[in-house]
């Protein structure tokens, strides 16, 4: 039997961004062996160069629809949208990293390799159009993140979080893989295009195919786990709390985004013909996430845990945009993901900055009177909190507005009502942080270390983007609308 490679559509241009990131990771890994210990910042610089190169390599794919490698990946607007988003998050993470790593005495070169590896996995997930590549992407990013969560090796908290993440993540991967197997068994295809062709065909009665529906259900569980949506969220607060804050910053934003790229491709593009079947389970996930995230966040005094629950709640809002199954809704989802990335990254980045001196800063009592000790940090944190709550003129408002708009057009009233009530609830815990920061400080509070230049720059960029996108959201919404027009 001869193998014919001609029909497979080998097109390295489509995965060039991923290739660049992976090669950078390998080079950083090799260089780490020879570079003097005091010069590890060079590794960060090299990683930055690679990430910027990957952004440049992504741009030519905009406006194209290039399936490659036997339909397992695609170079389209959605992939480019997520490439740029994920790479930017990576760049900002690496800019914040050296100072934080030095402070915790965990400044090892492997850190950058793992961040690059996770980024490559997320990018692959966003470009994946086959069950195999989806799995590959998820595993690549997960394994890197398991190690990163435990990167503060000497801290028991960090080890515990890595262990928890690994065990639960492995469990979720099992669901994912089992679901994929069932879907393959039902449809006889592994590419999303093939699966879509099967479910769309009139004679196949996909809506009544139990095997397929069960498979979709398991797939949803696996992906919802990665997106940290309730009721598959149990790992989130513990892992976010235990992992080094810089890792939490990265993963809270990037993992969720990548997971929703896959969710969009699977549910909106692949299974539109059986939308009535997946609408209800996804609506339940969204509603659970809104309730659990927002209500539990009220009770948390630890800001890392509070933001973890807030992240669960935001996963709920993002899921709401999937529910209509329209490209308008998906565009709102993408806009939400982009704005969530900016504001949540910012909030965690402030936490990282405060924790860079090594003290325990996540408890809300530490934040009392921050406004008088570090006005810059307190001001940007206020902006991020207002944005997460969805108060204009920040980007968080338009993110919610577009989601609500898509729900109104699709006449989905009950989830909308719950989302709105829960948004009112969320005002409480976001504003609580702000109130703590403006409360007159007690005596004897330590003045946190002055943020460095690169840290201040990252925070300023995130804050300006949060307000700037809240005043001029049209451009990014336009990109999101382009990226959301998926079809097979």
């Amino acid at each position: 039997m001869t193998i014919n490679l001609n029909g497979l559509g080998i097109d390295y241009g489509v995965i060039l961004p991923e290739i660049i990131v992976v090669i950078t990771a390998i080079v950083v890994l090799g260089l780490d062996l020879v570079i003097p210990v005091g010069r590890r910042n060079w590794l960060a610089a090299l990683a930055l160069i690679g990430l910027v190169g990957a952004i440049v390599a992504s741009l030519p794919l905009w406006g194209q629809n290039r399936p490659a490698f036997a339909d397992t990946v695609v170079g389209d607007d959605l992939a480019v949208f997520f490439n740029i988003l994920l790479l930017s998050v990576s760049i900002l993470t690496i800019l914040l990293s050296p100072r934080f790593l030095r402070a915790l005495d965990i400044n090892y070169g492997e850190y950058y390799v793992l961040v690059l590896g996770a980024t490559a996995g997320m990018m692959l997930l966003a470009a994946a159009t086959s069950l195999m590549t989806i799995f590959l992407g998820i595993e690549l990013l997960s394994i890197c993140l398991y190690v990163l969560s435990g990167f503060a090796r000497t801290a028991v908290r960090s080890q515990e979080s890595a262990m928890k993440y690994l065990l639960l993540g492995g469990f979720a991967t099992g669901f994912l893989l089992y679901g994929m197997a069932l879907i393959y068994g039902a449809t006889g295809a592994t590419t999303l295009r093939g699966i879509a062709a099967f479910t769309g065909a009139a004679g196949n009665n996909a809506a009544g195919n139990v095997l397929l529906l069960l498979g979709i259900g398991f797939l949803a569980v696996g992906l919802a786990f990665k997106a940290s949506a309730a009721p598959f969220h149990m790992w989130t607060p513990d892992v976010y709390e235990g992992a080094p804050t810089i890792v939490t910053t990265f993963m809270s934003v990037a993992t969720k985004s990548a997971a929703f790229a896959a969710i969009g491709r699977v549910f909106i593009a692949t299974f539109p013909s059986i939308a009535a079947r997946w609408y209800f389970p996804l609506a339940i996930i969204a509603i659970f996430s809104l309730f659990i995230g927002n209500l539990v966040a009220i009770t948390e005094d630890n800001l890392k845990r509070m933001l973890a629950y807030s992240g669960i709640a935001h996963a709920g809002y993002i899921f709401l945009g999937i529910l209509p199954g329209t490209s308008q809704g998906f565009a709102a989802t993408l806009f939400y993901i982009a704005s969530y990335s900016v504001m949540n990254f910012g909030a965690f980045a402030v936490l990282t900055t405060l924790g860079a001196a090594g003290e325990e800063t996540a408890d809300i009592s530490y934040w009392r009177g921050l406004f008088y000790r570090r006005p810059f940090l307190a001001t940007v944190m206020t902006i991020f909190m207002l944005s997460l709550a969805g108060i204009p003129p920040t980007v968080g408002f338009f993110a919610k507005l577009f989601i609500f708009q898509s729900l109104v057009s699709a006449q989905i009233w009950l989830p909308l009502a719950i989302a709105i009530i829960m948004t009112v609830v969320s005002f409480y815990y976001y504003l609580r942080v702000v109130v703590a920061m403006i409360t007159v400080p007690e005596e004897g509070l330590v003045k946190p270390a002055r943020p460095g230049f690169s840290t201040s720059t990252v925070l300023a960029v995130a804050a300006v983007a949060t307000i700037g996108l809240g005043i001029f959201p049209a451009t990014v919404l336009g990109w999101a609308t382009h990226a959301a027009s998926l079809h097979f």
């Binding site: 204009p392 507005l401 577009f402 057009s409 005002f427 109130v435």
Partner: protein, 509 residues
């Protein structure tokens, strides 16, 4: 007809939002220790804004009706979602814009330079001014909503940080009430645009577009509760937001806490202006976009407004704390404004518009006076104040004028609005006009008791109560002047707003 013509091509309305923002920016970069500079910067930007708004009022063409706006500015904002940056001014918003600029100038002028964290205080006041100006000028519903919500943030901090007593609780209660109303309005906004989209095929949040296509149809409620008109449903969404902000009985329970907690400069704009924005919203959006629903719910809301008049008046009667007394008096007067709006006829709405300006002027003056009394006497308890007229005769004279205006004496401004509203109510709901009349009588009672209790009789010994300083006279003077001017030329406002009011869909129908 206008007094003079302003050059076209200048974004006058945008400027009236941008100048306070620019002032806020200047305050933000000023060093926190330069207290005098900060206050001067605040006053300067408020003065420039006031001059600008005065120019806009002067350049406003009177008698332009038919839902026409002036000084319109339209820019694309988020075209794919049908959202535009559309500003405009008409008879409904014109004088409120003037009130806005005036009251913020006064509020910043009376800020105590020794206020802790003065810089942030002035900064937030200027941000608030920009937001309230935006609310009055925005003609795109989403733009309006953005300003409406943006107004909350500075108010929340102004009450929560600089307030007195249970300030954090009060700020939070106010915030949660308002936000609940706001979200009801947001859903209604989205639905209005969605319905207009299904009728016209054009997605737009522009008031001028939506007013042409009032929603029709009805919705069958689940659990066999019967059917409700879509327009009625949308009306309720908007009404909830505005009724809470006004506040309309029985949604007023945030008011005593917030009004008692807020510092005096904030009260001047909070009671003087922000409460009126709810009434403005009723006229602009509820009466404008949902004329049929306004007729079906107008009577009900007018009853609530009248209950508010009487309830507020009785509550004011039993207060011993002067600040709370004025807070309830404000609620009672806002009931008059609500009653005028919901009569749905020209006289009532005109009266409401006039009374909005009057109420802003009177209540701001009353809160200023409460602040002045408290600073001198160290208390706001009526029982501990006596005979202040003997030691501060000028103060007493000015206060008497304000009191008489507040109780609606003919010849002063309060009478003009109340009279028009009563006329309007008489032609729509006779019993309510009687109820409102009771409110007027009670107003005379509590206002005169306030005056007599604190200013007449023999002073308490020893008295440390000082006469008005020039700055106190200075901030009261423009308000007193307005009370007299409006009182003796009562036809001025109605003439300017009449064309706009006559074109309102609710009146046309």
């Amino acid at each position: 007809m206008s007094w003079f013509t302003l050059p076209t091509g200048v974004p006058w309305l945008t400027l009236s939002i941008v100048i306070p923002l620019a002032g806020a920016l200047l305050v933000a970069i000023a060093p926190a220790v330069a207290r005098r500079t900060i206050k001067q910067l605040g006053i300067l930007s408020a003065v420039i804004t006031l001059a600008l708004v005065a120019a806009i009022i002067g350049g406003f063409q009177h008698g332009v009706g038919n839902l026409q706006f002036q000084f319109e500015e339209t820019l694309k904002w988020i075209p794919s979602a049908g959202i535009s940056y559309h500003l405009g001014v008409d008879g409904v918003s014109l004088f409120l814009l003037g009130l806005n600029a005036l009251l913020f100038l006064i509020a910043i002028a009376v800020v105590d330079p020794e206020t802790p964290r003065l810089k942030q205080f002035v900064l937030l006041l200027l941000l608030l001014e920009a937001a309230t100006a935006g609310i009055l000028l925005a003609l795109d519903l989403i733009l309006f909503y953005v300003f409406w919500e943006a107004m909350l943030v500075p108010l929340y901090f102004l009450i929560g940080v600089w307030g007195e007593g249970r300030r954090v609780y009060a700020a939070f209660k106010f915030l949660i009430y308002t936000v609940i109303g706001s979200f009801a309005m947001l859903v209604a906004i989205l639905a209005v645009a969605g319905i207009s989209f299904s009728q016209t095929g054009q997605l737009s949040f522009d008031w001028a577009v939506l007013v042409q296509h009032p929603a029709t149809g009805s919705w069958t409620m689940p659990f066999s509760l019967g059917a409700i008109g879509i327009q009625q449903l949308l009306f309720l969404g908007f009404a909830l937001a505005f009724a809470i902000k006004m506040p309309l009985f029985p949604l007023h329970t945030w008011l005593p806490a917030a009004y008692t907690a807020a510092p005096i400069p904030v009260m001047v704009v909070f009671a003087g202006l922000v409460s009126k924005l709810g009434a403005y919203g009723f006229i602009r959006f509820n009466l404008g976009l949902f004329p049929q629903a306004s007729h079906s719910y107008g009577g009900f809301l007018a009853v609530l407004a009248t209950i508010g008049i009487v309830y507020g008046a009785f509550m004011a009667l039993v207060q011993t704390d002067l600040k709370r007394l004025v807070a309830y008096a404000s609620m009672s007067h806002l009931g008059f404004i609500g009653l005028g709006i919901f009569t749905g006829n020209v006289l009532g709405i005109e009266g409401a518009l006039v009374q909005m300006v009057n109420h802003g002027v009177i209540i701001a003056a009353l809160f200023l006076i409460v602040g002045m009394i408290e600073r001198r006497a160290g208390t706001r308890e009526r029982a501990q104040l006596r005979g202040l007229a003997a030691v501060a005769p000028v103060f007493a004279a000015l206060f008497l004028i304000v009191s008489l205006a507040a109780l609606g004496l003919p010849g002063l401004n309060g009478f003009v609005g109340e009279f028009l509203i009563m006329l309007g109510a008489w032609s729509s709901f006779v019993p309510l006009a009687v109820g409102a009349g009771i409110g007027v009588i009670l107003a005379a009672w509590y206002v005169l008791r306030f005056y007599q209790g604190s200013f007449q009789d023999v002073p308490v010994e020893p008295t440390g109560f000082g006469e008005l300083r020039w700055i106190d006279t200075g901030v009261l003077a423009p308000l007193l002047a307005l009370m007299v001017v409006i009182g003796i030329s009562p036809n001025f406002f109605p003439a300017a707003v009449e064309a706009t009011v006559r074109a309102l869909p609710v009146v046309v129908r």
